[in-house]
C-alpha cells in the first residue's frame, strides 16, 4: 500500500487513520537511502512524492523553503542560478547504495546528511531553520521559521533533523544558505601515514585560512600514493594566497601539489559520497565520528581483528570504514574501539539481515535512551511512523 498525499491536510488524515486502525507507516522520499537505518517493516508506505515545489526563495536573505518531496537536484539548480549553495554539502547516497531514485530535500533534513564542508560551515542541522511536520497523532506542527536568528520556544527543528522520520512526517523544510564560493583549490600532500596526515589536517584546521575540506585517503584507497587533501574555497585571489600560506605553514609535512578548481570539486564530491569505498558492493560500510586525533588509534584497533579499508574526512574526525559484510560486520570491534575513544559509529551499508540484527545506530546510555523513548512517545504515542528505523521499538 502506498499513500502519496498532495497536501499537508491529507497527510494528517492518513496518519490519523493509521493511528486509529493500528497501521504502521514507512516514510519514503526519493527512496535513495532506504538502505540506511535498521530494517523496519511497516503496513504501508507514506511518500512525499506529491509534496513538491519551492514555496519561498529569497536570495538576498539566503533562505528558501520547499515541500519535503522536492528533488534536491531542482533545489541545487535553483540555487546555482543565484550563485548560492546548501553550505553543508549533502551526501548523495546513490553512490553507496546504487539506488535509482532522486534524493529529496526532506530526506536530507530527516537524515541530517552533511559532507566535507561540515567541518567549517556546520551540518544540515545547523542550517535547517524551520520545518512543518505531521506527528504520529495526525497533528500539523511547525517549529522554527524563515529567519536565521530565532530562539522562540523549544527547538523541535534540530530534534527532527536526523530523526529519520521517527517523530514526524516532514512536509516542508526551510534552510539557510551561503553564497557559492567563487573559486576553490586544494593542496595535496603525498605519502603520509595516518598519524602524520591527521596531524597535518589538524594543523591546517587550526590555521586562520578557513580550510573547508580536510581529508586523508590512505594508500590503496585513492589514486596512487596516500593523499592528504586540504581545500580552500574563496575569492580567486584568496584561494591562491591561502593555499600558498598554508603550504608554507605545513612545510614539515612535505611539498604539496596544487589541485585546480575542477579537480578539487570532483575529488570532494567523491569524498562526500564515500565513492572511494563504494566498490565492491559486498562490503559493509561504517561511518565513525570521533575527535580527529583519536582516528588513527581507532583504526589501528579495528584493523587488528578484521580486513579493513578506510579514509578520513572532517580533519580525521569522520572515518569511512569498509569491512567484510560477514557475521556482525565487525560491530563488536568497531563499538569496542569507539567505547575507548569516545564518539559514535553508524552502520551505513549492510545486508538487510545484518541491519535487522546489529544496532545500526550507536547504542545510547540508559538515561539518554529513556529520554529518546519519551520524546518518540510525545510525537508518536502509538508508534505509527518509521518505528524501529533508528532504535528497536522507537
Amino acid at each position: 500500500m502506498l499513500f502519496s498525499p498532495a497536501s499537508e491536510g491529507e497527510c494528517a488524515e492518513i496518519i490519523e487513520d493509521c493511528r486509529r486502525t493500528g497501521q504502521t507507516l514507512d516514510i519514503q522520499g526519493g527512496n535513495t537511502r532506504a538502505g540506511l537505518g535498521r530494517t523496519a517493516p511497516a503496513d504501508a508506505i507514506l511518500s512525499t512524492q506529491n509534496l513538491t515545489g519551492v514555496t519561498l526563495y529569497e536570495p538576498a536573505e539566503m533562505v528558501f523553503s520547499a515541500r519535503a518531496g522536492t528533488p534536491l537536484r531542482d533545489i541545487e539548480a535553483m540555487l546555482a542560478e543565484k550563485n548560492q549553495i546548501l553550505p553543508f554539502e549533502p551526501m548523495d547516497f546513490r553512490t553507496l547504495f546504487g539506488a535509482a531514485g532522486e534524493p529529496t530535500i526532506g530526506g536530507v533534513a530527516a537524515t541530517n546528511s552533511s559532507g566535507p564542508r561540515r567541518i567549517m560551515s556546520g551540518a544540515a542541522r545547523d542550517h535547517l531553520i524551520g520545518l512543518r511536520l505531521v506527528n504520529g497523532r495526525g497533528e500539523i506542527v511547525k517549529s522554527g521559521g524563515r529567519v536565521m536568528k530565532n530562539v522562540t520556544g523549544l527547538d523541535l527543528v534540530k530534534l527532527n533533523c536526523g530523526a529519520f522520520g521517527t517523530l514526524g512526517f516532514l512536509t516542508e523544510v526551510t534552510f539557510k544558505l551561503l553564497p557559492a564560493p567563487r573559486d576553490s583549490g586544494a593542496l595535496v600532500f603525498e605519502g603520509l601515514d595516518d598519524a602524520s596526515a591527521i596531524a597535518c589536517l589538524c594543523a591546517a584546521m587550526g590555521s586562520p585560512f578557513e580550510v573547508s575540506g580536510a581529508a586523508h585517503l590512505p594508500l590503496g584507497v585513492g589514486e596512487g600514493r596516500a593523499q592528504t587533501v586540504l581545500r580552500i574555497e574563496h575569492f580567486p585571489a584568496s584561494v591562491n594566497y591561502r593555499l600558498d600560506r598554508l603550504a608554507h605553514a605545513l612545510a614539515s609535512y612535505g611539498k604539496p601539489a596544487h589541485m585546480d578548481h575542477a579537480a578539487t570539486t570532483k575529488l570532494f564530491a567523491d569524498i562526500r559520497d564515500c565513492a572511494p569505498l563504494a566498490e565492491p558492493r559486498e562490503r559493509a560500510i561504517w561511518k565513525l565520528s570521533v575527535a580527529p586525533t583519536k582516528g588513527p588509534e581507532v583504526i589501528r584497533t579495528i584493523a587488528k581483528s578484521t580486513e579493513a579499508s578506510w579514509f578520513y574526512d572532517w580533519s580525521g574526525g569522520l572515518i569511512w570504514l569498509a569491512v567484510p559484510a560477514q557475521g556482525d560486520c565487525s560491530a563488536s570491534g568497531v563499538r569496542a574501539a569507539i567505547a575507548a575513544s569516545g564518539g559514535h559509529a553508524t552502520l551505513m551499508r549492510a545486508p538487510d539481515a545484518a541491519r535487522a540484527e546489529i544496532p545500526v545506530f550507536q547504542p545510547l546510555s540508559a538515561p539518554l535512551m529513556k529520554l529518546t523513548a519519551g520524546i518518540k512517545s510525545s510525537f508518536d504515542p502509538d508508534g505509527v511512523l518509521n518505528v524501529g528505523r533508528m532504535y528497536a521499538g522507537i
Binding site: D155, M205, P208
Partner: protein, 477 residues
C-alpha cells in the same frame, strides 16, 4: 506596577521554607546555601529589572555531583527550581519565584581542558562567555558566540538561551558551537550528550537542550568548538539618508556573495545618543548607519571593502569612514558596543529582540517608529542587520507605571509586526517571562502542545523554571 503574571506561589512550600533550607544544608556546606533575606535579594531579578521575586533560597553548587544531589532532593520534596547563570537575561529567564530555589552555576567556573588539535574546549558551565575566549586568545583562538553581555554572562546561560551576538552572521549562534553537554535532570540523573566529536548520536537531544531556557535540566559542563582567529579584521562605517537605503545595501552585499563577519545598523536617534556618550565620530547628519566588518589578510580586506564600498555607493551612501588603524577600528566599534549603555544614561528602556526577514526590515522599522510614537514614547534602533535581528530600545520612565505599561504594549505590538512579517518574537534573548504570553502570536496551541509534551519528558511535574516560556493558560495537564 507589573503586567506579566507569575503563578501564585504554593503556600505549603513557603510554610516549609525552614525545613527545605535545612535539607539543602544537609547536602551542601553553608557557604553554598544562601538563605538570609538580604542575600537572597541579590537574586530576585535579572536584567529584566522591572520584575522581581524573592526566591525561597539560593544554592551555589560546586560540582555536577552537588547539582545532582540538590535536584534529587528538591524533586523528592516537590520544590520548584530556577536555574541561573550570571543573571543577565533580558527576557526574565532567571527571575525566581517565592516558592522556588535558585540553583546558580557561578561556582562552576573552571576551564577543564583545551584541545587545539581537535579545536574544542571543555568548560564548566559557569565560566563566562569571555572567559572562554580569554583563556585561548593568547594561542590565537576564540569562542565565537559574542553576546553584548559576554563579560558577565555564562556558558550555561548562553546554552539556555541559544545566545547570538554581533558576529553570528558569519559564525552562527551558540547551538552551532556546542558539541556536548553534561546535563542534570530534575530527578538528579546525570546525562552526557555528545562530546569532542561531530554530531551526537541518536536524536539531536543536544539541539533541543540549547535554547531550552532552563526548562529541561541544568547544564553543568559543555564541550565547545573553538576557532582560530582570522589574520585581521576591519570595519567600515557607512552613513545613509534613510533606513531604506541602508537596508537595501545590506541585501545587496549578501546578493553579491559576500558574507561579512558583522553588519550592524543604527538609526538616527541611536547615532545621536551613542555619539553624545562615546564620541566615536559618528555622522550626525545621516538617517541611518551601517558598520560592516570583514576579515582576512590586509589585501583580502582591502579587496572586500572595495567591493562593499562600490555596492554602498549604488545605494547613495553619504558618508564612508574607513578605519586606517586598529585605533580607528576600535573607535567605530566603541559606539556600537556602548549603544545600550548610552541609551540607559538618558532613559530607562526595554530592549526588544524580534527578528524580521531582511526584505521587510524597512517596513518593520517604519512600523516600529509609528507604533512607539503612537504611545508618545521614543525608540532607538540598534541591531544586527545581516540577520534581521532587531533591538528597538523603547525609552520610558521606570517610575511611571502608566508609561511602563505603554512601553510594554508598544513592544508587544512591534513583536506582532515582526511575526506577521514572517519573523519571530525573539532572535537571541529568549522568551523568558517577557514574551511568554505572546507565544500564540507565533505558534498555535497544537505547536505549543507538542513543545510542552517534549518538555514533560524531562520534567513531568513542571518543577523547572515553570513560570517561563509557555503561556500559563493552556498548559498541558
Amino acid at each position: 506596577m507589573t503586567h506579566i503574571a507569575f503563578p501564585p506561589p504554593d503556600p505549603a512550600i513557603i510554610a516549609r521554607r525552614a525545613d527545605i533550607v535545612a535539607g539543602l544544608l544537609a547536602i551542601l556546606p553553608s557557604e553554598c546555601v544562601i538563605s538570609s533575606e538580604n542575600e537572597r535579594r541579590a537574586y530576585e531579578t535579572d536584567a529584566l529589572t522591572a520584575y522581581r521575586r524573592l526566591p525561597l533560597a539560593v544554592v551555589l553548587p560546586r560540582s555536577t555531583e552537588d547539582v545532582s544531589a540538590v535536584l534529587r532532593y528538591l524533586h523528592a520534596e516537590g520544590v520548584k527550581v530556577v536555574p541561573r547563570g550570571a543573571g543577565t537575561s533580558l527576557s526574565g529567564g532567571a527571575i525566581p519565584q517565592e516558592d522556588a530555589v535558585v540553583v546558580g552555576v557561578s561556582k562552576l567556573n573552571r576551564i577543564l581542558e583545551v584541545d587545539y588539535a581537535n579545536r574544542v574546549a571543555r568548560v564548566q558551565a559557569g565560566v563566562t562567555n569571555l572567559g572562554v575566549s580569554d583563556a585561548i586568545m593568547g594561542d590565537g583562538f576564540f569562542y565565537a558566540p559574542d553576546p553584548s553581555s559576554q563579560l558577565a554572562c555564562t556558558v550555561a546561560g548562553n546554552i539556555g538561551m541559544n545566545s547570538g551576538g554581533a558576529h553570528c552572521l558569519k559564525h552562527g549562534v551558540t547551538t552551532n558551537h556546542i558539541l556536548g553537554v553534561r546535563l542534570v535532570l530534575i530527578d538528579g540523573t546525570v546525562v552526557d550528550i555528545g562530546g569532542a566529536h561531530m554530531d551526537a548520536p541518536g536524536l539531536d537531544v543536544l539541539g533541543l537542550i540549547v535554547g531550552h531556557e532552563g526548562q529541561l535540566g541544568i547544564v553543568t559542563e559543555a564541550t565547545v568548538r573553538i576557532l582560530r582567529i582570522a589574520e585581521g579584521a576591519r570595519p567600515v562605517l557607512f552613513g545613509f539618508d534613510s533606513s531604506e537605503e541602508a537596508g537595501a545595501c545590506v541585501a545587496d552585499i549578501i546578493g553579491h556573495g559576500i558574507v561579512p563577519v558583522a553588519m550592524e545598523f543604527m538609526d538616527k536617534l541611536a547615532i545621536e545618543i551613542t555619539e553624545a556618550f562615546a564620541h566615536a565620530g559618528y555622522p550626525l547628519d545621516v538617517g541611518a548607519m551601517l558598520i560592516v566588518e570583514v576579515e582576512g589578510s590586509d589585501a583580502e580586506i582591502d579587496a572586500q571593502l572595495l567591493e562593499i564600498t562600490m555596492i554602498a555607493q549604488k545605494h547613495n551612501v553619504r558618508t564612508i569612514r574607513q578605519s586606517q588603524s586598529a585605533m580607528e577600528a576600535a573607535l567605530i566599534w566603541k559606539g556600537r558596543k556602548s549603544a545600550f549603555g548610552a541609551t540607559g544614561r538618558i532613559a530607562d528602556y526595554i530592549c526588544m529582540d524580534g527578528t524580521a526577514p531582511l526584505g521587510k526590515l524597512a517596513f518593520v522599522l517604519k512600523r516600529t517608529d509609528e507604533i512607539v510614537a503612537g504611545f508618545g514614547l521614543r525608540v532607538a534602533n540598534v541591531f544586527h542587520a545581516g540577520d534581521g535581528n532587531m533591538h528597538p530600545l523603547i525609552m520610558y520612565n521606570v517610575n511611571d507605571p502608566a508609561e511602563q505599561a505603554k512601553a510594554e504594549q508598544a513592544g508587544n505590538e512591534i513583536l506582532k509586526v515582526c511575526v506577521e512579517a514572517g519573523g519571530c518574537l525573539t532572535g537571541e534573548h529568549g522568551v523568558g517571562i517577557e514574551k511568554r504570553d505572546l507565544m500564540l502570536f507565533q505558534f498555535n496551541q497544537t505547536d505549543l502542545d507538542q513543545q510542552m509534551r517534549v518538555r514533560a519528558v524531562f520534567d513531568p511535574r513542571w518543577l523547572l523554571n515553570p513560570a517561563k516560556v509557555f503561556p500559563l493558560d493552556g498548559r498541558a495537564a
